[in-house]
């Protein structure tokens, strides 16, 4: 059972903290938050234990390998940051009677357990259970501003559409089970390799991929993303844009490469379509946005498209490029949302319009510089680090012989550059709007600075180490 140590720590810890919260009340939320961060850190440390790299648990439903450990590390970092930034955010909003309740960190912890199960799943059942645990916690988190109609709308929308996606996924699972006779990934792989992919299993494959594409917010299952991102409290949006994406993509990769490996030709065209559609739609639809949170939602759709190019390339190179991409993506996206958290007018109210960023470079030069770094990096302009993962996925695609895909994807990235430039233009070229309130939290500023340094050209120094780690993690799948 030692293989499941990270989930054990988080799961048991979450239940204990829930009890503590019930008895101690919301006054001790800050304490509970910090205890949760400690738990996440402990779970993260347990990833370094040898047992987290080899081992199968629950009778072949769960695997602890290098691949899962890498994805979990990313997920835990994102989760910890989502907990850390929450108390300040909710206490500021308290003027509008949104108190941080102690459930927030607990829900994040439970969501992390679910995501851990997702990336470690080697059976359709663990896959589904993990995914549902993560989703149910997320629905509540999206609606956490329960007296704000936008937040409740986001929660409801997420729930209804998420339930639909779960249904689709479950239907696909049942078809796959029905036509291959097993729910285990290796069993499905053997069966498809031996008997080929029948029509029924093909339907199952399409439904499973659709359900997972919904979780990853890939086109054409992206519709919920802008609304949910806009309505949910900003720390929750930051969380949604990072950790669950890593989990969903890691799961999608394991299902595609592991379970459906022999049916590569069948899923590759789906993934290619979804990749190109995500890149183009994420870029074009973002142009007209006026809310920074909606814009970042489309930006995340756009980025998932690039990640899927790495998956379409397949092979250890492709998977390594996907993991590398997610690493940098998490840093860029969390950094960008941390900057959004800084957008408060003089009265402390949050503002979300892009126009309010006008002239930020004169009022808050440091924040503007960090934001510009994230934007150029998301656009994939060298020498910022965001260029490198794009380079890797295209390199993998070219190696796999998918040159036209690489050319189209790369050319569409120019469309995306346009709206990232728009943010930089607003901050640097436009006349100053009323300035934002100064930053109160050294912690948030520190986190923004750390993320900005990572995606700055200094990040390139991490290439040898990260390449080795992602390659080792990717090899675990083969």
């Amino acid at each position: 059972m030692l293989a499941t140590l990270p989930e054990l720590i988080l799961g048991a810890g979450a239940l204990v903290l829930l009890m503590v919260a019930a008895w101690a009340g919301d006054r001790h939320t800050k304490l509970i938050s910090w205890l949760s961060v400690l738990l996440v850190a402990a779970a993260g440390l347990s990833l370094f234990a040898p047992s987290s790299h080899v081992g199968v648990a629950f009778g072949g439903l769960y695997i602890a390998d290098g691949y899962a450990a890498f994805a979990k590390a990313l997920i835990y970092i994102a989760g910890a940051i989502a907990i850390i930034i929450a108390p300040d955010h909710f206490s500021r909003e308290s003027i509008r009677a949104f108190d941080l309740r102690a459930e927030y960190p607990v829900l994040i912890l439970l969501s992390l357990v679910g995501m851990g199960m997702m990336v470690s799943a080697i059976d359709l059942l663990t896959l589904y259970v993990g995914l549902e645990l993560q989703s149910l916690a997320s629905y509540v988190l999206a609606a956490f501003h329960r007296r704000d109609s936008r937040s409740t709308e986001a929660g409801l929308k997420y729930f209804v559409l998420g339930a639909l996606a779960s249904g689709i996924l479950l239907y696909g699972i049942s078809l796959l089970y029905g036509f291959t006779g097993t729910t285990s990934f290796t069993g499905i792989e053997t069966s498809i390799a031996a008997n080929g992919l029948g029509l029924g299993a093909l339907f199952g494959l399409v439904f499973v991929l659709s359900g997972l594409a919904f979780k990853a917010a890939a086109v054409p299952f992206h519709m919920w993303t802008p609304d949910v991102y806009e309505g949910a409290p900003t720390p929750v949006t930051a969380f949604f844009a990072s950790a669950p994406k890593v989990a969903a993509i890691a799961l999608l990769v394991r299902v595609s490469i592991g379970a459906l490996g022999p049916a590569e030709d069948a899923w590759r065209q789906i993934v290619i379509f979804s990749a190109l559609a995500s890149i183009v739609l994420g870029a074009v639809a973002a142009i007209g946005q006026t809310s920074i949170k909606r814009l970042l939602a489309y930006s995340s759709i756009n980025n998932i498209g690039f990640v899927l190019i790495g998956l379409a390339a397949g092979g250890a190179d492709g998977v390594a490029s996907v993991l590398f991409y997610m690493t940098v993506y998490v840093a860029m996206t969390l950094g960008a949302f941390l900057c959004v958290l800084q957008m408060r007018d003089r009265d402390g109210h949050y503002v979300e319009t892009i126009a309010s960023l006008s002239g930020l470079s004169s009022t808050r030069p440091g924040l503007a510089a960090a934001f510009a770094i994230f934007m150029f990096s998301l656009a994939g302009i060298p020498p910022l680090f965001g260029f490198w993962p794009k380079f890797l996925v295209f390199s993998a695609a070219v190696k796999a012989g998918l040159v036209p895909l690489a050319v189209i994807g790369m050319a569409s990235s120019v469309i995306g550059a346009f709206y990232y430039l728009k943010i930089v233009k607003t901050m640097y070229f436009d006349e100053p709007a009323p300035g934002f309130a100064p930053s109160e939290s050294r912690l948030e500023s520190g986190l923004i600075a750390a993320a900005a340094v990572f995606v700055s050209p200094l990040g390139y120094l991490a290439i040898p180490a990260l390449t080795a780690t992602t390659m080792a993690a990717a090899r675990a799948l083969f």
Binding site: P383, F394, S395, M410, A411, V414, L421, K425, I463
Partner: protein, 513 residues
């Protein structure tokens, strides 16, 4: 290590970068001083490498290589004679850009200086890079500071111009990245000198060539993808225009000579007529467009497009004269167009308009200015004794060997060039000094003289004794010619001296020389 015993190229990259970072934390006056000092230090180091460079020695000198980004690419630097001359051009222009912005830039000086210093690092990085992807990173990264320079410190339509500049150049380059990935994959190395010796399959060469062409043609810029240039030039601050015209445009030509020609000789021959056709259109069309401009900067921008067409014609002639000429035009144009933009900047700072009709009769009240402006005008026209003459003449001689028709059309460009430049000069410097605000303009200040005079002297130096500049590049042109010899298309004007000509009188012999 190299002949100097320390990694001078890294130092040249590092000093402006660190100085730029430092600029962000000081006040305006201090930032100006830091920037000037850093660019002067780089200029000194540029002179040092020029002096220490051994012409005819190893092709690649001052090499450094650290596998910093293993296993993908390495931090590999090194220069040949061509890169050397372009680096010297860059470090020579940079202190002038800083000095030219000394008083004309008043807002956000520290950021301005930081952007320029970053720009310098990236530009010389492009010429130094010996690794495919390191080159790409330097090549693309220049977009960010230039975007900010145009967008923050530019003129009226700066935002439109900055977007156009950024997206045009980015779209050109992204396809090149895919081609680079393919090449690195096929050749198994990212080392540029090795790739220059690699023979790619002829069928693939055409695609690769087109992908690189997409990037370099935009950067160059060639007709019809030149339209970003007039906009960017017009809106950029003076020093930004100098850098754009002086150095950024040279990256396109450098790319052709470093990648397209040696790596894809067959494809270069295959597409020779594409280049010739576009260049011929550019020479005639943009010269005519320049003739009707009312905005000084726009006129010079169009003249840049016309001059760069000489570069592309010269490069694809596949002979020594043409390539030498193209390189000389690149260097000469870097100096002369930079100087012309500075001339425009001088009067723009006084009257704040670029409209040609607002000036007139400047030779009366600004004689020093009129003299220097005339020198640069004549150089741009290609008067013998000035820098452009050498390059344009050689390029035309090379073009004649490749195709007499190309030489014929290109030569009309020289005539049209004389027309629009002299017309510009007449309208600005001559005529009646009847506008009171123009008459009140003071002549060049000491600072402006310190910028213009060295430029004027180097233009004359390059025109009178071009050997100083051709010598370091000779070996590289030879190895390039040896590399592309196998694909050289037959010219229509190769003068073949028949065997019996040995019998004809001595005078005919001299004619054949």
């Amino acid at each position: 290590m190299n002949q100097l015993g320390f990694p001078i190229l890294s130092l040249m990259l590092g000093i402006p970068l660190l100085a730029g970072f430092w600029c962000l934390f000081v006040n305006a006056q201090m930032a100006r001083r830091i920037a000037l000092a850093a660019t002067l230090v780089d200029l000194v180091m540029g002179i040092v490498i020029w002096a220490a460079f051994v012409p005819g020695g190893p092709q690649w000198q001052f090499q450094e290589s650290i596998p910093l980004f293993a296993p993908w690419f390495s931090y590999a630097l090194g220069i040949d004679g061509i890169a050397l001359m372009l680096i010297v051009l860059t470090v020579f222009l940079m202190p002038m850009c800083i000095a030219a912005s000394w008083t004309s830039i008043e807002k956000r000086v520290p950021e301005y200086m930081a952007s320029f210093l970053l720009m310098e690092t990236l530009m010389i990085g492009v010429f130094m890079a010996q690794d495919l992807f390191l080159f790409y990173i330097f090549f693309e990264a220049g977009l960010i500071p230039m975007y900010l320079i145009i967008g923050i410190w530019g003129g009226q339509r700066r935002i439109y111009a900055s977007y156009k500049f950024f997206l045009y150049t980015l779209l050109g380059s992204v396809v090149m990245l895919i081609a680079m990935l393919w090449m690195a994959n096929a050749a198994g190395t990212t080392d540029i000198p090795t790739l220059m010796e690699s023979d790619f399959p002829v069928a693939a060469q055409n695609w690769l060539w087109l992908a690189f062409f997409a990037s370099f043609a935009v950067k160059m810029p060639m007709w019809p993808v030149h339209t970003w240039l007039p906009d960017a030039h017009v809106e950029a601050p003076t020093a930004g225009s100098v850098i754009l015209a002086g150095v950024l445009l040279k990256m396109g030509g450098y790319g052709f000579i470093r990648f397209s020609l040696p790596m894809f000789p067959e494809a270069s021959a295959h597409f020779m007529w594409l280049i010739f056709a576009l260049s011929m259109i550019a020479v005639v069309y943009t010269s005519l467009v320049a003739l009707v401009q009312r905005d000084m900067k726009k006129l010079i921008a169009y003249s840049s497009v016309a001059h760069m067409a000489f570069v592309t014609i010269g490069l694809f002639t596949f002979n020594r004269q043409g390539i030498d000429g193209a390189l000389m035009v690149m260097l000469a144009h870097g100096l002369v167009s930079g100087a012309l933009f500075l001339c425009v900047g001088v009067i723009y700072d006084r009257l704040h308009t670029r409209e040609i009709d607002r000036y007139g009769g400047l030779s009366d009240n600004m004689p020093k200015y009129a003299l220097l402006f005339m020198l640069f005008t004549m150089a741009s026209v290609g008067l013998p004794g000035t820098a452009n003459f050498v390059g344009e003449f050689l390029a035309l001689v090379g073009a004649y060997q490749a195709s007499s028709w190309v030489a014929f059309v290109a030569t009309t460009g020289v005539i049209l060039g004389a027309a629009y430049m002299l017309y510009l000069y007449r309208r600005i410097a001559f005529g009646v000094l009847d506008k009171p605000d123009v008459a009140a303009m003071p002549d060049l200040s000491l600072r402006e003289l310190a910028i213009m005079v060295p430029l004027g002297l180097s233009v004359l130096w390059m025109g009178v004794y071009p050997e100083s500049f051709l010598k370091p590049m000779r070996g590289d042109v030879s190895s390039l010619l040896a590399r592309i010899e196998r694909a050289k298309p037959a010219g229509d004007a190769d003068v073949q001296i028949p065997a019996e000509s040995k019998a004809i009188p001595v005078t005919a012999h001299e004619g054949a020389h």
